[in-house]
Amino acid sequence: MLTVERLTKRYGSAVAVDDITFTARPGRVTGFLGPNGAGKSTTMRMMVGLTKPTAGTATVLGRRFTDLPNPGREVGVLLDASAQHAGRTGREVLTLAAQTMGLPGSRVQEMLARVSLTDTEARRRVRDYSLGMRQRLGIATALIGDPQVLILDEPANGLDPAGIRWMRDLLRGHADRGGTVLLSSHLLHEIEVIADDLVVIGHGRIAAQGTKADLLATTGTLVQTRNGKALAEALAAVGTSYTDHGVRSAAGITTLRVDADPEHVGQHAARAGLALLDLRPAEGAGLEEMFLEITAQTQREGDVA
């Protein structure tokens, strides 16, 4: 159980995290989603006491992180896999974590096996690790204390497809055994696959939160055509409402989200003699739309605005 209440972080006049409240529950994977710079990492650092919040509280298992007597045994944390002394071997990094937590040395070997780092790899220094290997080492550090709660910032970064699959299974298994998992990502589709609950953050504020099922509930139809204006007129003529997602300038393709089923849209397009490039139920399109909006505002990419 992880609770964040009215957490706020200001740097001078800039607001990095603005009054956010959410809960990550046991037995569930909570996805913390937002574009780069939205405030995810700052929020996570505040959760574990690396950054002091301007206002608000974060508690883990009902206590502030800094009040946990031996935090590594209760909360596994991975904030940045590259934040390791480059001159230490992977095995040494794990040994230090195990010693700090008061764990037997045998845990190190167990964890190396758990994250599939070979003995040869474990003897190499972190400077020679790929990002994927660093992520595995970071996951091993987070898991070594057998914690109930996991807080992971972008853990899938740098992993290959097999690694992402492995990570997914590992986090799913942790939640299924009753653990709490909070993981962040800036990729909607990455998090869609694994999360049970979603917290979407943009500009330091929570844009949406709830179960994935609720947030991704089917809402209308996504349709693409090169003749967006004619399709919009045809739909307007029969009183069907829609949202214009804009034109991809290079290809001249218009995307509409229509508040009707695909058959209805297809029939009216056919009647108007319009060729469609894509026609499908807009599963999660509402969320995607919102997420793109947040991302567009942050990154100012003209194409999606």
Partner: protein, 283 residues
């Protein structure tokens, strides 16, 4: 959260006993109640961290080799009539007084420069405890270095005088050795202080060399030219008053001078550094 009802009579038919409390299972929900991490354990971890990297390991080996080399050089090149225990301990102390502060400095700055602090301060979310543990660890390193330097000097003295065919001179009293140990410990403390204050390896090393080599040279020149500064130097120049320790024989005034310069140039900046460490954000 769980409470055990102690007043329950033993006649209860259930097989459960209240004594089996620590049976950890691999499921994430059944962790045994953890206890607070003792400082002793943190000190051990910090000691290990100082020497488990290539740079840390070679600094340690280098310090040892330099001490042995200094002994050999004294035997080889010092005139026979100047061979004494004091000559050896002074020669051995020279490389140590340069390298030990660097070990202390790096033990702090690595957490920021190498960013390992992200893990360190998450596993122990009380930075003050980590800094204290590092301080104790570095003090231990200094003590062990002294403990090794004294017999090494003695061996050198015996070997050197035997080779040159003269009688060994034991010119160091216990008090002299204590002065010597205090001087080296203060230097280690200065390295530690600069690490805490600067929190970046390159910057702190530069600051250390300015403190230990550049500033003393300039201040000596200043003292040669300016009479007022020659009188003030023992009160304001920390390397002057600390360096005086190697000659020993302190009176009340010299102790006061050492206390004044140490308060201004060691304790005060250390306090500023520690406060900044406690308040700053670890990224």
């Amino acid at each position: 959260m769980t409470t055990t009802v102690q007043s329950e009579p033993a006649a209860s038919t259930t097989a459960s006993t209240t004594t089996s409390t620590s049976t950890p299972t691999p499921t994430p929900t059944a962790a045994s109640a953890p206890t607070r991490i003792p400082v002793r354990r943190l000190v051990a971890v910090e000691l290990r961290k100082s020497f488990d990297t290539r740079s840390g390991f070679w600094l340690l080996v280098g310090t040892g080799l330099a001490a042995v080399a200094a002994t050999v050089l004294v035997i080889a090149f010092a005139p026979a009539d100047q061979l004494s225990y004091g000559t050896f301990t002074l020669a051995i102390g020279k490389p140590m007084s340069i390298l030990l502060p660097l070990i202390a400095l790096l033990s702090v700055t690595a957490e920021w420069t190498q960013r390992s602090g992200l893990t360190t301060f998450t596993l122990v979310p009380h930075r003050g405890r980590v800094i204290v543990a590092k301080g104790i660890a570095m003090l231990l390193v200094g003590v062990v270095a002294m403990v090794l330097a004294f017999p090494l000097g003695a061996i050198g003295n015996l070997a050197g005088t035997t080779i040159h065919g003269v009688d060994p001179v034991w010119d160091q009293t216990a008090a002299d050795l204590a002065y010597y140990a205090l001087a080296n410990t203060l230097l280690v403390a200065v390295g530690f202080m600069l690490g805490v204050l600067v929190r970046a390896s390159a910057g702190a090393i530069v600051a250390y060399f300015v403190y230990a080599f550049v500033a003393p040279t300039l201040l000596t020149l200043l003292a040669m030219g300016q009479d007022w500064f020659r009188k003030a130097q023992p009160w304001v120049d920390p390397t002057y008053s600390q360096g005086a320790l190697f000659h020993g024989g302190f009176g009340a005034q010299q102790w006061t001078q050492l206390a004044v310069t140490s308060a201004a140039w060691l304790v005060a900046p250390l306090v500023v550094g520690v406060v900044t460490v406690l308040r700053s954000e670890v990224k």
